[in-house]
Homo-oligomer: 99 residues x 2
């Protein structure tokens, strides 16, 4: 199975991370979580000028992209950076910029 791909898997992956980071709200969340350990989405709802359902969607996108992870800490959910993928993204972007 010969695939003549012009776009590499790495580029696809980097683009996927970039897309997830491509919104101010999500950037805000990522920066917050990368600095402090974790947070609850309730905290974010208070700080941010959006409905909780909207925030939920943004968090889902970040989760789907693998950049954050949620841990149930009833009755709330504690969100943290997904350190493994965060590191991967860090590396991908570093490679992109340092080339």
């Amino acid at each position: 199975m010969v695939k003549k791909e012009t776009i590499t898997e790495k580029q696809e992956k980097t683009a996927r991370y970039a897309k997830a980071m491509g919104h101010p709200i999500r950037m805000y969340v990522l920066e917050l979580l990368s600095k402090q350990s974790c947070c609850y989405s309730g905290d974010l709802t208070e700080e941010l000028p959006i409905a909780k359902s909207t925030l939920s969607q943004h968090l889902k996108e970040l989760k789907d992209a693998g950049l954050i992870q949620g841990e149930i800490e009833a009755p709330r959910i504690k969100y943290c950076i997904n350190r493994e993928n965060w590191k991967e993204a860090q590396l991908l972007f570093r490679e992109l910029f340092e080339s």
Copy 2:
């Protein structure tokens, strides 16, 4: 004029760059241009599996985001990285990941 902003200008800017990078085609172009000096869009049309009009739109987005710049070299247009903004983006992402 007191503005209670939760999202910083820096985060907006980083998100804008990230959004522009959030597509495989655009990531391909950015990586190519960051490595070599410049290229012509005709070269890209041959390599990439998209119509030239579609490519033109992607290039426009990268230009609007300030990541690349086009220089007329008739009858073609030579595209290069916008080094100044590329550096800014590099810095913004480095700060994001290193915090």
